[in-house]
Protein backbone atom coordinates (compact mmCIF):
# COMPACT_ATOMS: atom_id res chain seq x y z
CA UNK A 1 0.00 0.00 0.00
CA UNK A 2 1.22 3.46 -0.74
CA UNK A 3 2.20 5.51 2.28
CA UNK A 4 0.03 8.48 3.14
CA UNK A 5 1.77 11.80 3.46
CA UNK A 6 0.30 14.98 4.81
CA UNK A 7 0.57 18.03 2.54
CA UNK A 8 3.73 19.44 4.15
CA UNK A 9 5.62 16.23 3.44
CA UNK A 10 4.58 15.93 -0.17
CA UNK A 11 8.08 16.71 -1.44
CA UNK A 12 9.42 13.63 0.29
CA UNK A 13 10.21 10.75 -2.04
CA UNK A 14 7.44 8.23 -1.97
CA UNK A 15 8.46 4.73 -0.99
CA UNK A 16 6.48 2.34 -3.03
CA UNK A 17 6.04 -1.28 -2.17
CA UNK A 18 5.33 -2.34 -5.69
CA UNK A 19 6.26 -0.41 -8.81
CA UNK A 20 3.71 0.17 -11.52
CA UNK A 21 3.62 -2.37 -14.32
CA UNK A 22 4.54 0.11 -17.05
CA UNK A 23 7.86 1.97 -16.55
CA UNK A 24 8.04 5.78 -16.68
CA UNK A 25 8.02 7.24 -20.16
CA UNK A 26 6.55 4.17 -21.80
CA UNK A 27 3.37 4.36 -23.78
CA UNK A 28 0.44 3.47 -21.54
CA UNK A 29 -2.74 4.34 -23.37
CA UNK A 30 -3.16 5.23 -27.00
CA UNK A 31 -6.27 6.30 -28.87
CA UNK A 32 -6.33 6.14 -32.66
CA UNK A 33 -8.84 8.22 -34.62
CA UNK A 34 -11.70 7.92 -32.17
CA UNK A 35 -15.17 9.06 -33.06
CA UNK A 36 -18.06 9.51 -30.72
CA UNK A 37 -21.64 10.11 -31.77
CA UNK A 38 -24.35 10.92 -29.26
CA UNK A 39 -27.96 11.48 -30.30
CA UNK A 40 -26.99 12.03 -33.94
CA UNK A 41 -24.46 14.67 -32.95
CA UNK A 42 -20.79 14.04 -33.70
CA UNK A 43 -18.98 15.02 -30.50
CA UNK A 44 -15.54 14.40 -31.95
CA UNK A 45 -14.00 12.42 -34.78
CA UNK A 46 -10.50 11.41 -35.82
CA UNK A 47 -9.29 12.09 -32.30
CA UNK A 48 -5.91 10.56 -31.52
CA UNK A 49 -4.01 10.90 -28.28
CA UNK A 50 -1.28 9.21 -26.29
CA UNK A 51 -0.70 8.96 -22.58
CA UNK A 52 2.70 7.81 -21.32
CA UNK A 53 3.47 6.64 -17.82
CA UNK A 54 4.28 9.72 -15.75
CA UNK A 55 2.09 12.07 -17.78
CA UNK A 56 -1.00 14.05 -17.00
CA UNK A 57 -3.51 14.70 -19.76
CA UNK A 58 -6.02 17.44 -19.25
CA UNK A 59 -9.10 17.24 -21.43
CA UNK A 60 -10.47 20.73 -21.89
CA UNK A 61 -13.47 22.06 -23.74
CA UNK A 62 -16.79 23.78 -23.34
CA UNK A 63 -19.82 22.22 -21.65
CA UNK A 64 -21.21 19.57 -23.92
CA UNK A 65 -18.05 19.27 -26.00
CA UNK A 66 -17.77 15.59 -25.16
CA UNK A 67 -15.18 15.55 -22.36
CA UNK A 68 -17.06 13.08 -20.18
CA UNK A 69 -17.91 10.94 -23.20
CA UNK A 70 -14.22 10.78 -24.10
CA UNK A 71 -13.31 9.80 -20.55
CA UNK A 72 -15.95 7.09 -20.54
CA UNK A 73 -14.53 5.71 -23.80
CA UNK A 74 -11.03 5.75 -22.33
CA UNK A 75 -12.29 4.03 -19.17
CA UNK A 76 -13.73 1.23 -21.29
CA UNK A 77 -17.30 1.98 -20.21
CA UNK A 78 -18.50 2.54 -23.74
CA UNK A 79 -17.15 1.47 -27.11
CA UNK A 80 -16.07 4.17 -29.57
CA UNK A 81 -18.20 4.49 -32.68
CA UNK A 82 -15.00 4.44 -34.71
CA UNK A 83 -11.33 4.10 -33.90
CA UNK A 84 -9.16 1.99 -31.70
CA UNK A 85 -7.96 2.12 -28.12
CA UNK A 86 -4.64 0.50 -27.25
CA UNK A 87 -3.33 -0.24 -23.77
CA UNK A 88 0.38 -1.19 -23.74
CA UNK A 89 0.18 -1.51 -27.54
CA UNK A 90 -2.60 -4.10 -27.36
CA UNK A 91 -6.26 -3.50 -28.27
CA UNK A 92 -8.26 -2.66 -25.18
CA UNK A 93 -10.95 -5.24 -25.98
CA UNK A 94 -8.39 -8.06 -25.72
CA UNK A 95 -6.97 -7.13 -22.34
CA UNK A 96 -9.96 -5.42 -20.79
CA UNK A 97 -9.57 -7.15 -17.42
CA UNK A 98 -5.87 -6.27 -17.08
CA UNK A 99 -6.65 -2.71 -18.07
CA UNK A 100 -9.53 -2.42 -15.60
CA UNK A 101 -7.33 -3.77 -12.81
CA UNK A 102 -4.78 -1.02 -13.47
CA UNK A 103 -7.37 1.74 -13.74
CA UNK A 104 -9.06 3.93 -11.18
CA UNK A 105 -12.04 5.72 -12.70
CA UNK A 106 -13.94 8.30 -10.68
CA UNK A 107 -16.75 9.67 -12.78
CA UNK A 108 -19.02 12.64 -12.69
CA UNK A 109 -21.01 10.98 -9.88
CA UNK A 110 -19.14 10.52 -6.65
CA UNK A 111 -19.54 6.78 -6.08
CA UNK A 112 -20.50 7.59 -2.50
CA UNK A 113 -23.62 6.08 -0.97
CA UNK A 114 -25.34 8.80 1.03
CA UNK A 115 -26.65 6.48 3.72
CA UNK A 116 -23.17 5.19 4.54
CA UNK A 117 -20.51 7.00 6.53
CA UNK A 118 -17.20 8.10 5.04
CA UNK A 119 -15.43 5.16 6.69
CA UNK A 120 -17.98 2.66 5.38
CA UNK A 121 -17.77 4.07 1.88
CA UNK A 122 -14.00 3.82 1.91
CA UNK A 123 -14.17 0.28 3.30
CA UNK A 124 -16.36 -0.62 0.33
CA UNK A 125 -13.92 0.86 -2.19
CA UNK A 126 -11.00 -0.86 -0.50
CA UNK A 127 -12.83 -4.15 -0.88
CA UNK A 128 -13.66 -3.34 -4.50
CA UNK A 129 -9.97 -2.66 -5.17
CA UNK A 130 -9.16 -6.03 -3.63
CA UNK A 131 -7.26 -4.42 -0.76
CA UNK A 132 -7.42 -5.55 2.87
CA UNK A 133 -9.43 -3.43 5.25
CA UNK A 134 -7.46 -0.79 7.11
CA UNK A 135 -8.00 2.09 9.46
CA UNK A 136 -8.92 5.14 7.38
CA UNK A 137 -9.12 7.69 10.21
CA UNK A 138 -5.66 9.10 9.38
CA UNK A 139 -6.49 9.33 5.69
CA UNK A 140 -9.75 11.18 6.33
CA UNK A 141 -7.95 13.53 8.70
CA UNK A 142 -5.41 14.29 5.95
CA UNK A 143 -8.33 15.24 3.75
CA UNK A 144 -9.74 17.59 6.37
CA UNK A 145 -12.57 15.33 7.40
CA UNK A 146 -11.51 14.70 11.00
CA UNK A 147 -14.58 14.28 13.18
CA UNK A 148 -16.84 13.57 10.22
CA UNK A 149 -15.85 9.92 9.75
CA UNK A 150 -18.91 8.48 11.43
CA UNK A 151 -21.83 10.44 10.08
CA UNK A 152 -23.80 9.48 6.97
CA UNK A 153 -22.45 11.17 3.86
CA UNK A 154 -25.79 12.81 3.09
CA UNK A 155 -25.03 15.14 6.04
CA UNK A 156 -21.78 16.29 4.41
CA UNK A 157 -21.47 19.24 2.07
CA UNK A 158 -20.88 18.68 -1.66
CA UNK A 159 -17.19 19.49 -1.27
CA UNK A 160 -16.80 17.15 1.68
CA UNK A 161 -18.51 14.37 -0.26
CA UNK A 162 -16.11 14.99 -3.12
CA UNK A 163 -13.21 14.65 -0.67
CA UNK A 164 -14.54 11.31 0.54
CA UNK A 165 -14.90 10.21 -3.06
CA UNK A 166 -11.33 11.23 -3.95
CA UNK A 167 -9.91 9.61 -0.80
CA UNK A 168 -9.96 6.40 -2.80
CA UNK A 169 -6.97 7.67 -4.80
CA UNK A 170 -4.84 7.67 -1.66
CA UNK A 171 -4.96 3.90 -1.35
CA UNK A 172 -5.37 3.09 -5.04
CA UNK A 173 -2.65 0.94 -6.57
CA UNK A 174 -3.75 1.66 -10.11
CA UNK A 175 -1.29 3.29 -12.45
CA UNK A 176 -3.84 5.15 -14.54
CA UNK A 177 -6.37 7.47 -12.97
CA UNK A 178 -9.26 8.77 -15.04
CA UNK A 179 -11.03 11.55 -13.17
CA UNK A 180 -14.06 13.46 -14.39
CA UNK A 181 -14.10 16.96 -12.89
CA UNK A 182 -12.21 16.04 -9.71
CA UNK A 183 -12.06 19.66 -8.53
CA UNK A 184 -15.82 20.26 -8.59
CA UNK A 185 -17.09 21.71 -5.31
CA UNK A 186 -13.61 21.61 -3.72
CA UNK A 187 -12.18 24.70 -2.04
CA UNK A 188 -8.82 26.25 -3.00
CA UNK A 189 -6.81 24.45 -0.31
CA UNK A 190 -8.25 21.09 -1.26
CA UNK A 191 -7.50 21.74 -4.93
CA UNK A 192 -3.91 22.61 -4.05
CA UNK A 193 -3.56 19.49 -1.92
CA UNK A 194 -5.03 17.31 -4.64
CA UNK A 195 -2.61 18.73 -7.20
CA UNK A 196 0.30 18.04 -4.85
CA UNK A 197 -0.93 14.50 -4.58
CA UNK A 198 -1.28 14.22 -8.36
CA UNK A 199 2.35 15.33 -8.60
CA UNK A 200 3.38 12.50 -6.29
CA UNK A 201 1.50 9.98 -8.37
CA UNK A 202 3.06 11.30 -11.59
CA UNK A 203 6.61 11.30 -10.25
CA UNK A 204 6.08 7.69 -9.18
CA UNK A 205 5.30 6.80 -12.77
CA UNK A 206 1.54 7.02 -12.62
CA UNK A 207 -0.59 8.65 -15.26
CA UNK A 208 -3.67 10.83 -14.94
CA UNK A 209 -6.38 11.82 -17.40
CA UNK A 210 -8.75 14.45 -16.07
CA UNK A 211 -11.23 17.06 -17.12
CA UNK A 212 -11.41 20.39 -15.41
CA UNK A 213 -12.36 23.95 -16.18
CA UNK A 214 -9.79 25.28 -13.74
CA UNK A 215 -6.24 25.94 -14.92
CA UNK A 216 -3.85 23.57 -13.18
CA UNK A 217 -1.37 25.36 -10.95
CA UNK A 218 1.04 22.48 -10.66
CA UNK A 219 4.48 22.72 -12.26
CA UNK A 220 5.47 19.54 -14.04
CA UNK A 221 7.02 18.55 -17.34
CA UNK A 222 4.51 15.96 -18.39
CA UNK A 223 1.38 18.11 -18.54
CA UNK A 224 -0.53 17.81 -21.80
CA UNK A 225 -3.82 19.26 -22.87
CA UNK A 226 -6.40 18.11 -25.38
CA UNK A 227 -8.94 20.74 -26.31
CA UNK A 228 -12.27 19.47 -27.58
CA UNK A 229 -14.15 21.96 -29.71
CA UNK A 230 -17.89 22.22 -29.31
CA UNK A 231 -19.51 21.05 -32.54
CA UNK A 232 -23.05 21.36 -33.74
Amino acid sequence: MRAIFPIVDSQRPVIKHQPFSVPVGQLLLQAQSLSCIRQDRVLFEQLSLQVHAGELLQVAGKNGAGKSSLLRLLAGLAAPDEGLLLYCQKPLADIATDYAANLCYIGHHSGIHEQLTALENLAFWRAAAGLPQADDFALLATLGLAGLEDIPCRMLSAGQQRRVSLARLWFSRSQLWILDEPFTALDQSAIAMLQQFFLQHLTCGGAIILTTHQPLSMVYDGLNTVELAYRW
Binding site: L77, I112, H113, F124, A127, A128
Partner: protein, 221 residues
Protein backbone atom coordinates in the same frame (compact mmCIF):
# COMPACT_ATOMS: atom_id res chain seq x y z
CA UNK B 1 -8.31 -10.45 -4.31
CA UNK B 2 -11.96 -9.41 -4.20
CA UNK B 3 -13.97 -11.15 -1.48
CA UNK B 4 -17.70 -11.25 -0.92
CA UNK B 5 -17.66 -10.44 2.82
CA UNK B 6 -17.24 -6.64 2.75
CA UNK B 7 -19.78 -6.30 -0.06
CA UNK B 8 -22.38 -8.30 1.86
CA UNK B 9 -21.64 -6.29 5.00
CA UNK B 10 -22.32 -3.10 3.08
CA UNK B 11 -25.64 -4.38 1.72
CA UNK B 12 -26.80 -5.55 5.14
CA UNK B 13 -25.78 -2.22 6.63
CA UNK B 14 -27.82 -0.41 4.00
CA UNK B 15 -30.80 -2.65 4.73
CA UNK B 16 -30.48 -1.86 8.42
CA UNK B 17 -30.52 1.87 7.60
CA UNK B 18 -33.29 1.77 5.02
CA UNK B 19 -35.77 -0.46 6.79
CA UNK B 20 -38.75 0.62 4.71
CA UNK B 21 -37.15 -0.99 1.64
CA UNK B 22 -37.63 -4.49 3.00
CA UNK B 23 -40.19 -4.08 5.78
CA UNK B 24 -42.87 -2.75 3.44
CA UNK B 25 -42.88 -5.83 1.16
CA UNK B 26 -42.96 -8.15 4.17
CA UNK B 27 -45.85 -6.23 5.71
CA UNK B 28 -47.59 -6.25 2.34
CA UNK B 29 -47.36 -10.05 2.32
CA UNK B 30 -48.90 -10.34 5.79
CA UNK B 31 -51.62 -7.76 5.13
CA UNK B 32 -52.73 -9.29 1.83
CA UNK B 33 -52.96 -12.72 3.40
CA UNK B 34 -54.87 -11.47 6.43
CA UNK B 35 -57.36 -9.71 4.14
CA UNK B 36 -58.30 -12.90 2.33
CA UNK B 37 -60.19 -14.57 5.23
CA UNK B 38 -62.03 -11.28 5.69
CA UNK B 39 -62.85 -10.96 2.02
CA UNK B 40 -63.87 -14.49 1.01
CA UNK B 41 -65.37 -15.40 4.38
CA UNK B 42 -63.96 -17.53 7.19
CA UNK B 43 -65.15 -20.87 5.79
CA UNK B 44 -62.25 -23.25 6.73
CA UNK B 45 -62.56 -25.56 3.72
CA UNK B 46 -62.69 -22.71 1.23
CA UNK B 47 -59.62 -21.11 2.80
CA UNK B 48 -57.76 -24.42 2.65
CA UNK B 49 -58.54 -24.77 -1.05
CA UNK B 50 -57.44 -21.28 -2.05
CA UNK B 51 -54.44 -21.13 0.34
CA UNK B 52 -51.69 -22.46 -2.02
CA UNK B 53 -52.48 -20.03 -4.84
CA UNK B 54 -53.08 -17.07 -2.55
CA UNK B 55 -49.89 -17.55 -0.55
CA UNK B 56 -47.75 -17.82 -3.64
CA UNK B 57 -49.33 -14.89 -5.44
CA UNK B 58 -48.78 -12.73 -2.35
CA UNK B 59 -45.17 -13.91 -2.18
CA UNK B 60 -44.56 -13.06 -5.85
CA UNK B 61 -45.98 -9.58 -5.51
CA UNK B 62 -44.15 -8.83 -2.29
CA UNK B 63 -40.77 -9.82 -3.78
CA UNK B 64 -41.55 -7.75 -6.86
CA UNK B 65 -42.28 -4.78 -4.63
CA UNK B 66 -38.81 -4.97 -3.11
CA UNK B 67 -37.08 -5.33 -6.47
CA UNK B 68 -37.51 -1.91 -8.00
CA UNK B 69 -35.19 0.08 -5.78
CA UNK B 70 -32.52 -2.59 -5.66
CA UNK B 71 -29.92 -0.94 -7.90
CA UNK B 72 -31.44 2.54 -8.13
CA UNK B 73 -29.33 4.30 -5.48
CA UNK B 74 -26.08 2.72 -6.57
CA UNK B 75 -26.84 3.53 -10.18
CA UNK B 76 -27.62 7.16 -9.44
CA UNK B 77 -24.58 7.80 -7.25
CA UNK B 78 -22.17 6.26 -9.74
CA UNK B 79 -21.19 3.15 -7.77
CA UNK B 80 -22.43 0.84 -10.54
CA UNK B 81 -20.58 2.80 -13.22
CA UNK B 82 -17.31 2.76 -11.31
CA UNK B 83 -17.64 -0.95 -10.51
CA UNK B 84 -18.26 -1.69 -14.18
CA UNK B 85 -15.11 0.27 -15.01
CA UNK B 86 -13.07 -1.85 -12.61
CA UNK B 87 -14.78 -5.06 -13.79
CA UNK B 88 -13.46 -7.53 -11.24
CA UNK B 89 -15.55 -6.53 -8.21
CA UNK B 90 -18.80 -6.34 -10.18
CA UNK B 91 -19.70 -10.01 -9.73
CA UNK B 92 -19.06 -9.89 -5.98
CA UNK B 93 -21.27 -6.80 -5.81
CA UNK B 94 -24.06 -8.59 -7.68
CA UNK B 95 -23.80 -11.73 -5.54
CA UNK B 96 -23.94 -9.61 -2.38
CA UNK B 97 -27.05 -7.85 -3.71
CA UNK B 98 -28.66 -11.22 -4.45
CA UNK B 99 -27.89 -12.66 -1.07
CA UNK B 100 -28.99 -9.54 0.78
CA UNK B 101 -32.17 -9.42 -1.28
CA UNK B 102 -33.07 -12.98 -0.34
CA UNK B 103 -32.18 -12.45 3.32
CA UNK B 104 -34.40 -9.37 3.49
CA UNK B 105 -37.37 -10.42 1.35
CA UNK B 106 -37.34 -14.22 0.89
CA UNK B 107 -36.27 -15.39 4.31
CA UNK B 108 -38.90 -13.30 6.20
CA UNK B 109 -41.61 -15.02 4.14
CA UNK B 110 -40.31 -18.43 5.22
CA UNK B 111 -40.16 -17.26 8.83
CA UNK B 112 -43.71 -15.89 8.63
CA UNK B 113 -45.14 -19.11 7.21
CA UNK B 114 -46.51 -20.43 10.56
CA UNK B 115 -48.53 -17.23 10.94
CA UNK B 116 -49.78 -17.48 7.36
CA UNK B 117 -50.72 -21.14 7.89
CA UNK B 118 -52.84 -20.11 10.86
CA UNK B 119 -54.57 -17.34 8.94
CA UNK B 120 -55.54 -19.61 6.05
CA UNK B 121 -56.25 -22.81 7.94
CA UNK B 122 -53.41 -24.75 6.29
CA UNK B 123 -53.11 -28.31 7.63
CA UNK B 124 -49.85 -29.84 8.78
CA UNK B 125 -49.02 -31.72 5.57
CA UNK B 126 -49.59 -28.63 3.42
CA UNK B 127 -47.65 -26.53 5.88
CA UNK B 128 -44.57 -28.73 5.44
CA UNK B 129 -44.95 -28.44 1.69
CA UNK B 130 -45.40 -24.68 2.01
CA UNK B 131 -42.18 -24.25 3.98
CA UNK B 132 -40.27 -26.44 1.51
CA UNK B 133 -41.63 -24.63 -1.55
CA UNK B 134 -40.91 -21.25 0.03
CA UNK B 135 -37.35 -22.34 0.85
CA UNK B 136 -36.78 -23.47 -2.74
CA UNK B 137 -38.90 -20.81 -4.43
CA UNK B 138 -37.96 -17.56 -2.72
CA UNK B 139 -34.28 -17.70 -3.80
CA UNK B 140 -35.53 -18.11 -7.36
CA UNK B 141 -37.87 -15.14 -6.89
CA UNK B 142 -34.90 -13.08 -5.66
CA UNK B 143 -32.73 -14.13 -8.60
CA UNK B 144 -35.37 -13.18 -11.15
CA UNK B 145 -36.25 -9.89 -9.49
CA UNK B 146 -32.58 -8.86 -9.26
CA UNK B 147 -32.29 -9.60 -12.98
CA UNK B 148 -35.34 -7.47 -13.69
CA UNK B 149 -34.03 -4.67 -11.50
CA UNK B 150 -30.70 -4.70 -13.31
CA UNK B 151 -32.35 -4.59 -16.74
CA UNK B 152 -34.61 -1.67 -15.86
CA UNK B 153 -32.20 0.31 -13.67
CA UNK B 154 -31.77 3.16 -16.13
CA UNK B 155 -35.51 3.49 -16.86
CA UNK B 156 -37.02 6.43 -15.00
CA UNK B 157 -40.31 4.79 -14.11
CA UNK B 158 -39.12 1.23 -14.24
CA UNK B 159 -41.72 -0.24 -11.91
CA UNK B 160 -44.34 -1.30 -14.44
CA UNK B 161 -41.73 -2.39 -16.96
CA UNK B 162 -40.12 -4.53 -14.28
CA UNK B 163 -43.44 -6.20 -13.46
CA UNK B 164 -44.17 -6.86 -17.15
CA UNK B 165 -40.71 -8.31 -17.60
CA UNK B 166 -40.52 -10.49 -14.51
CA UNK B 167 -44.06 -11.69 -13.76
CA UNK B 168 -44.20 -14.04 -16.79
CA UNK B 169 -40.95 -15.62 -15.58
CA UNK B 170 -42.57 -16.28 -12.20
CA UNK B 171 -45.40 -18.34 -13.73
CA UNK B 172 -43.66 -21.77 -13.83
CA UNK B 173 -42.65 -21.32 -10.22
CA UNK B 174 -46.20 -20.35 -9.25
CA UNK B 175 -47.62 -23.43 -10.99
CA UNK B 176 -45.23 -25.93 -9.46
CA UNK B 177 -45.21 -24.42 -5.97
CA UNK B 178 -48.98 -24.31 -5.62
CA UNK B 179 -49.28 -27.76 -7.22
CA UNK B 180 -46.88 -29.12 -4.56
CA UNK B 181 -48.98 -27.60 -1.78
CA UNK B 182 -52.21 -28.93 -3.28
CA UNK B 183 -50.74 -32.41 -3.63
CA UNK B 184 -49.60 -32.28 0.00
CA UNK B 185 -53.13 -31.26 1.02
CA UNK B 186 -54.48 -34.37 -0.67
CA UNK B 187 -51.78 -36.57 0.94
CA UNK B 188 -50.15 -37.23 -2.45
CA UNK B 189 -46.37 -37.25 -3.00
CA UNK B 190 -44.96 -33.95 -4.23
CA UNK B 191 -41.29 -34.77 -4.75
CA UNK B 192 -41.68 -34.25 -8.47
CA UNK B 193 -42.77 -30.63 -8.09
CA UNK B 194 -39.99 -29.93 -5.60
CA UNK B 195 -37.43 -31.48 -7.96
CA UNK B 196 -38.59 -29.26 -10.80
CA UNK B 197 -38.38 -26.20 -8.53
CA UNK B 198 -34.87 -27.18 -7.46
CA UNK B 199 -33.87 -27.61 -11.10
CA UNK B 200 -35.22 -24.15 -11.94
CA UNK B 201 -33.37 -22.68 -8.95
CA UNK B 202 -30.05 -24.26 -9.91
CA UNK B 203 -30.45 -23.21 -13.52
CA UNK B 204 -31.15 -19.62 -12.48
CA UNK B 205 -28.33 -19.66 -9.94
CA UNK B 206 -25.85 -20.58 -12.65
CA UNK B 207 -26.97 -18.02 -15.22
CA UNK B 208 -28.57 -15.05 -13.46
CA UNK B 209 -25.44 -13.54 -11.79
CA UNK B 210 -23.68 -13.37 -15.16
CA UNK B 211 -26.82 -11.98 -16.81
CA UNK B 212 -27.10 -9.30 -14.10
CA UNK B 213 -23.51 -8.15 -14.59
CA UNK B 214 -24.10 -7.92 -18.34
CA UNK B 215 -27.35 -6.00 -17.79
CA UNK B 216 -25.54 -3.50 -15.56
CA UNK B 217 -22.75 -3.09 -18.14
CA UNK B 218 -25.29 -2.39 -20.86
CA UNK B 219 -27.08 0.14 -18.69
CA UNK B 220 -23.96 2.23 -18.00
CA UNK B 221 -22.64 2.22 -21.56
Amino acid sequence: MVTLGPFLKRELRLLARQKADWLNPVLFFVIVLSLFPLGVGPEPNLLRIIAPGVIWIAALLSVLLAAERLFKDDYRNGVVEQLVASRQPLLAFVLAKLLANWLSTGLPLVLLSPLVALLLNVDMASFTAMVLTLLLGTPLLSLLSVLGAALTVSADKGGILLALLILPLYIPLLIFASAAMEAAGMALPYHGQLAVMLAMLLFALALVPVAVTSALKINVS
